[in-house]
Each structure stands twice: as C-alpha cells, then as structure tokens.
C-alpha cells in the first residue's frame, strides 16, 4: 500500500516507482543506523589521533639520573629481554645536545650545559604483539634499577591497547548493524513487492526475464541504501561542528569528508544485500497471473 506517493518523471516517458511512507521510514532508520556507525568510527579516528597511534611503533622513555651510580648496561640488557620489547636504544649525548639546541632555539641559553643535567635516556620500542605482563615487567625492571618511566607515555600505551579492542568491537558492531540494516531494507522491499505483486505477475505474464522483474527492486534497494548513506553523512556535520572546540583543544582533526564514500558505499551495499534477500524468494511469491 503506497501512501503519500510522489512521482518522478524519467526520460522515455517512464515514472520512478512510487516512493511512499515505507521507503521514507526505511531511509530514516538506515540513515540513523549509518550515522551511529559513522559517529563511532569518527570518534575512534579522533581517539587514535589523540594517542598518536598513527606511528607504527610505540616507544617509551626510561630515565636514569646522572648522579646515581647505576649499571646502565645491565639495565639496557634487562630491558631488552622483556617479552614484548622490540628494541632498546640509549640516547647518545650528541643526540641529547642536538635535541636541546632545537628545543632552546634562539633563546641564547647554553644548550651544552643544560643537556649535561638531563638524565640518561633509553628509548624502549614495543612490539605490536605484546604480552599481558610486558608493561608490569617493564615497570618492575625500571624500579629495580631506580630509574623512572615516562608515566604519560605509559598511559597512552594503555589507551592505545583499549582502542585496539574498541576497534575490534566497532568492526563487530558495524557488521551486526549492517546485517540489521540489510534486513530492514529487505523487509521494506518485501512490503513494496507485495504491494506491487500485480506488477510482478503482469511482467511475468508478458514473458519478462527474472532479472527484468527483480532489477527495479534491486535498484530501489541500492538507491535507498546509498541515499541513507548520504543522509547519514550530512547528519554527521552537526555532530562534528558541535564538538569542534574539544577537538581543537585535543589537536584532533577528524576527516569527515573521508567518511562520505564509505557511508555511501556501505549504504548501497546493505541496500543491495537487502534487496537481493527480499527478491530471493520471488519465485514462490505467485507466478500465476
């Protein structure tokens, strides 16, 4: 049953099939679901930028005060044998000096004198695959040698780990919502199909091929899904603009334009999938005229 129909004239004298309340409802539901997925992915993108995980390698800094008598070689060896640690590098005095010069810039201060007061630094690069005890072991080792660990970096590593898990969950949720959206589109098209069963029967009566009968519904599903994707993308703008202040504070620049094609294609995919499901059992839906 079509309610509140609107007709669009196509070339060749044909009209678009009536776009009724079922299609509008499905469009809104799928758009909201895609918007939710898009929002979560944008959030994840922002969080990843915040923790700096664009870097392939995660590195922690271990500091040893120069006035302490510590077995630096022993510390380096102990750090290197910890499970999950890829590389341990002691930062040379020259590198420290160079860094200090850059940091001080044109202030006119004595970089050499200041760099001499800096602690001995080890850069500990972690592997992508780390064990559960890698970080506690690292902390124990550093503690045993009376050294210190950059706690901020450690927190970022933990956040990074959490984000990795969230990423997996978001993929799972995306697939799950994708299936749900496909079923919504499928259900809508099934209702449209039942409302237009006379058309299907007539086309078959006139000797139409199966693809000819199904194609309008599949195209409608694709258009519905892609339209919902476009709408979802538009609905992301108020969200991003609303939190722009926070994002700027956190030095995060989310790529909303980058979400356009994934949402459009994702919508089209679920729409196409839904329409294929809806028309799959068309054979038994009533062949005889």
């Amino acid at each position: 049953m079509q309610i509140n129909n609107s007709r669009v004239r196509l070339p060749g004298g044909f009209n678009m099939p009536p776009f009724g309340i079922h299609q509008y409802l499905a469009l809104m539901i799928v758009a909201v679901a895609l918007w939710a997925i898009g929002s979560v992915w944008l959030g994840l993108q922002g969080a990843s930028q915040w923790v700096g995980s664009w870097q392939q390698q995660i590195a922690l800094h271990v500091y040893v005060d120069t006035d302490r008598q510590i077995d630096l070689e022993g510390l380096e060896q102990e750090l290197a044998i910890i499970s999950g640690v890829g590389l341990v590098q002691k930062v040379s005095k020259d590198d420290t000096l160079e860094w200090m010069r850059k940091w001080l810039g044109d202030t006119g201060m004595d970089a050499k004198m200041l760099s001499a007061t800096l602690p001995v630094t080890f850069v500990v690069t972690l592997n992508q695959q780390r064990g559960e005890f890698s970080l506690p072991d690292l902390r124990d080792t550093v503690g045993r040698f009376s050294a210190s660990l950059n706690e901020d970096e450690l927190q970022l590593v933990k956040v990074h780990d959490v984000l990795e898990r969230v990423n997996t969950l978001v993929w799972f949720a995306t697939v799950l919502l994708g299936i749900a959206m496909a079923l919504i589109v499928s259900n809508t098209l099934r209702m449209i199909l039942l409302a237009r069963m006379d058309e299907v029967r007539l086309m078959r009566l006139l000797g139409a091929k199966e693809w000819f009968v199904r194609m309008p519904f599949i195209l409608e599903g694709l258009a519905l899904g892609a339209g919902a994707g476009g709408l979802a993308w538009l609905m992301l703008w108020p969200l991003v603009l609303g939190v722009q202040g926070w994002l700027a504070t956190a030095h995060v620049d989310v790529q909303i334009w980058g979400m356009f094609f994934p949402l459009l294609l994702g919508g089209g995919l679920v729409g196409g999938l839904g329409s294929v499901v809806a028309t799959a059992k068309l054979d038994t839906a009533g062949v005889e005229a």
Binding site: N5, G12, G13, L202, L205, G207, E288, A289
Partner: protein, 228 residues
C-alpha cells in the same frame, strides 16, 4: 505447405492439486487466423483453457501444443518466449494504476527490450487504433471501464503477437462499449491475429461471427466448426 495448426490439444487434462478436475479429455485444434469464442457456464473451464494457452498452468496429462511448443515439456525459457508472442486481455484489465497509460501499454515492449526512443511512437500508433491517443499520459483511474478495456487491448496488441487471448473482455461493459471492444478484436483478427475470447455474451455472434467452442464441466461439449 505452411502448417496452419496453431493450437492443438489431444486428451488434454488438468487436475488441480486439490484434486479438482478443471479440464478433461479435451481434443481441439485451432488454426491460424481463426476468431474463436469459448463459451460455457461459470466453472466450465474457459479461463483455465486460456491460462493453459499462455502457460499460466500446464496440463497434467494428454498433449498440448501451442505455437509449436509442447506445453507439458516446455522449459521456462520457452514459456517466456511464448508469452512474448501472446497478447492477453483480462476481464479486470490488470492495468497498473500507479503507472500512466503509456507505461502500461509500453510494458510488453520494455519486457522485449525495445529502446525507449521508439516506444512513444509505437504506443501512440496503437492508442490511435483504439481511439485513445489523447490519453497517453493519463492514469488508468481517470478512465472509464470501457476505456480501460481498450487500453488493455492496446497493451495486448502492441507487440503484434500472432494470438490474442481475451477473458470475458465485455463482461462488465454496456452493450455499446462491448460492441466497440469486439470490433477491435475482430479488426485485429482481420489483421491476421488468431483471437480466442472467453465470453458469456452471444448476442454479438451475428455481428461478430466466429467459431464457437462450448465447454461444459471441463469437457468440450460443442464445436460449431466441427458441426459444419
């Protein structure tokens, strides 16, 4: 010599899954270019026979050849092609009310893959034949019952099929409109199409002569052609 036999049934029988026998032991030959009336009481098997001719249902036993196609053995593709060579007019028109007259009439051509730019001219020509050219862009709901039936005839004839099947084409029409509809069918017959029409109205038999096949309880009870 050209084979004139268009439809041939030998001991054709149709039993529905419910067990009801709709047609039994029908022997019949219809030649090309004939104008045939199928008459009989309600439930005699007229509509069933028409449906069997366009492949809507298949005989359960016996033999049935339509345009050279064995309807019992035919594959789906053969049935599809047969339907493209068959024009059907229904009592209830089966017009799509959400589509324009143009879209309704052009549908058989779209099914057959005609290009869009050729459709308007062809549809206009056929609507001219049924005297409804001015209704090209109207919707069927805006037309009278007689006009709707003429649109259905236009749709049936647009692909110039060699056979036109009409199921009670004058059933809901007044005498004048029914006369006009039969005129159209007879004109199509004179243009070479075989026309088979199931009807209750025999009052037009004098003005629109044709072969009369009377069905009774699923069997062929009378054939005016054979009587001659």
């Amino acid at each position: 010599m050209e084979n004139k036999v268009f439809i041939e049934l030998q001991q054709a029988m149709l039993r529905y899954r419910t067990g009801k026998v709709a047609l039994s032991g029908v022997n019949l030959t219809i030649e090309k270019g004939q104008f045939v009336y199928l008459i009989g009481e309600s439930g005699a098997g007229k509509s069933t026979l028409l449906r069997m001719i366009y492949g809507g249902i298949r005989p359960t036993s016996g033999q049935m050849l339509v345009q050279g196609v064995d309807m019992r053995q035919a594959k789906e593709k053969q049935i599809r092609l047969l339907r493209q060579r068959t024009g059907v007019v229904f009592q209830d028109h089966k017009l799509l009310f959400s589509r324009t007259v143009f879209e309704n009439v052009a549908l058989p051509l779209r099914v057959q893959g005609w290009k869009s730019d050729r459709l308007v001219a062809r549809v206009g020509k056929v609507l001219d034949f049924v005297e409804l050219k001015d209704r090209l862009w109207a919707y069927p709901e805006a037309l009278s019952g007689g006009e709707q039936q003429r649109i259905a005839i236009a749709r049936a004839m647009i692909a110039t099929p060699p056979v036109i099947l009409a199921d009670e084409p004058t059933g809901n029409l007044d005498n004048e409109t029914a006369f006009r509809v039969l005129n159209l069918l007879l004109a199509l017959n004179k243009m070479g199409a075989t026309v088979i029409t199931a009807t209750h109205d025999l009052q037009f038999l004098d003005s629109h002569p044709g072969r009369v096949l009377r069905l009774h309880e699923g069997s062929l009870a009378e054939d005016s052609h054979a009587d001659k």
